[in-house]
């Protein structure tokens, strides 16, 4: 798992890291070892770039229900 993937995964499960990130996002990302490109992608809220840097593969996210149109 890449450094960025590890950081984002840890962020989802670690309350202290999340609070550190909220108060000092760049310093927290640098401390976690993210490079400038990764930090810029996260900072600019560039979802497509973050997805690309985390391995891509943005799948279609749809309701998985074939009964959805059974009326």
């Amino acid at each position: 798992m890449s450094t960025l993937n590890k950081f984002l995964t840890e962020l989802g499960t670690n309350a202290k890291l999340m609070e550190d990130y909220k108060s000092e996002p760049v310093a927290t990302m640098k401390a976690a070892g993210l490079n400038d490109e990764e930090i810029n992608a996260v900072q600019s809220n560039d979802t497509a770039k973050v997805k690309e840097l985390t391995g891509g593969g943005e799948y279609a996210v749809v309701v998985h229900n074939v009964k959805e149109h059974n009326l």
Partner: protein
């Protein structure tokens, strides 16, 4: 002669919406102990995370295809999962969100496997509506809440209760009836406005909501008027939230059934 089922079993779990933090403790333990794990997750990042828990993870995303009916895709997904159980494996099917809300593959697999004598269960997960209530500050108990898959609602002609919240899932696929593509059209969105205008004025304020998949992102909460729906940027995860026109009111005819009067409520 009826054959005895193997030692296989199935547990369907939900991984939640936002990465890593919304899986339940029990579901994560089933993941760790599974012999085979299949999943439908939203991106490689989520898959990386699940693989870090269980290297046996295999994505079922390859069964999707533009132009291929999702009806066929979901049957194939069910077949893959069921065969792994029949082969004697303790299988986990990991789905993002809640594994049984607007999600048919787990339900199909459980029904099939139970009919064949295999143990199969579903554990609850954090669903998109759970995130929606938290992010929008809505309590569905305040006025009541009705939710439909958008196209299902738009095609059905069912009446809306305008005193309650209305949630239309997959508004970005509104009117898409072929199950073969992942987007809608301007024509469909204008039709959706006409249908909703039967219950709500064109100036009624609505919300487009998208739950964040990645912890660094914020939820999308865009307010707009019904008439502007066709110009909104919609994605496959966009949800339309329609606040009530009116709150709930006491109804004397209903209260009569309980021997009560409106005046009893001060």
């Amino acid at each position: 002669m009826k054959t005895t089922p193997s030692s296989g079993s199935l547990t369907c779990i939900g991984t939640g919406i936002t990465l890593a933090g919304q899986i339940t403790t029990l579901s994560k333990d089933y993941l760790e102990q599974a012999e085979m794990v299949f999943g439908i997750l939203p991106d490689k990042l989520s898959e990386d995370w699940v693989k870090s828990i269980t290297p046996s993870y295999k994505s079922l995303q390859y069964l999707y295809g533009e132009g291929k009916s999702r009806r066929q895709t979901y049957q194939e997904m069910k077949d893959v999962v069921c065969q792994a159980v029949r082969d004697g494996n303790k299988v986990v099917l990991a789905l993002y969100g809640h594994p049984g809300i607007f999600a048919c593959v787990g339900h199909f697999a459980i029904e099939t496997l139970r009919s064949e004598g295999y143990p199969a269960q579903m554990l609850p997960g954090v669903s998109a509506d759970a995130c929606l209530y938290a992010d929008l500050g809505i309590d569905p108990g305040t006025t009541g809440c009705q939710a439909y898959e958008a196209t299902q609602f738009l095609f059905s002609g069912v009446p809306l209760n305008t005193s309650a919240y209305t949630i239309l899932w997959q508004i970005g696929l509104a009117g898409e009836h072929t199950l073969k593509t992942f987007k809608t059209t301007q024509k469909n969105l204008h039709a959706a406005v006409r249908v909703l205008n039967k219950w709500y004025p064109l100036e009624h304020e609505m919300i487009l909501y998208e739950a964040p998949f990645i912890p660094v992102h914020h939820p999308r909460i865009d307010k707009f008027k019904l008439k502007d729906l066709p110009i909104m940027d919609l994605t496959s995860i966009s949800t339309l939230v329609i606040p009530p026109l009116t709150g709930l009111k006491l109804d004397q005819e209903s209260l009569n059934e309980f021997g009560l009067n409106i005046s009893d409520f001060g």
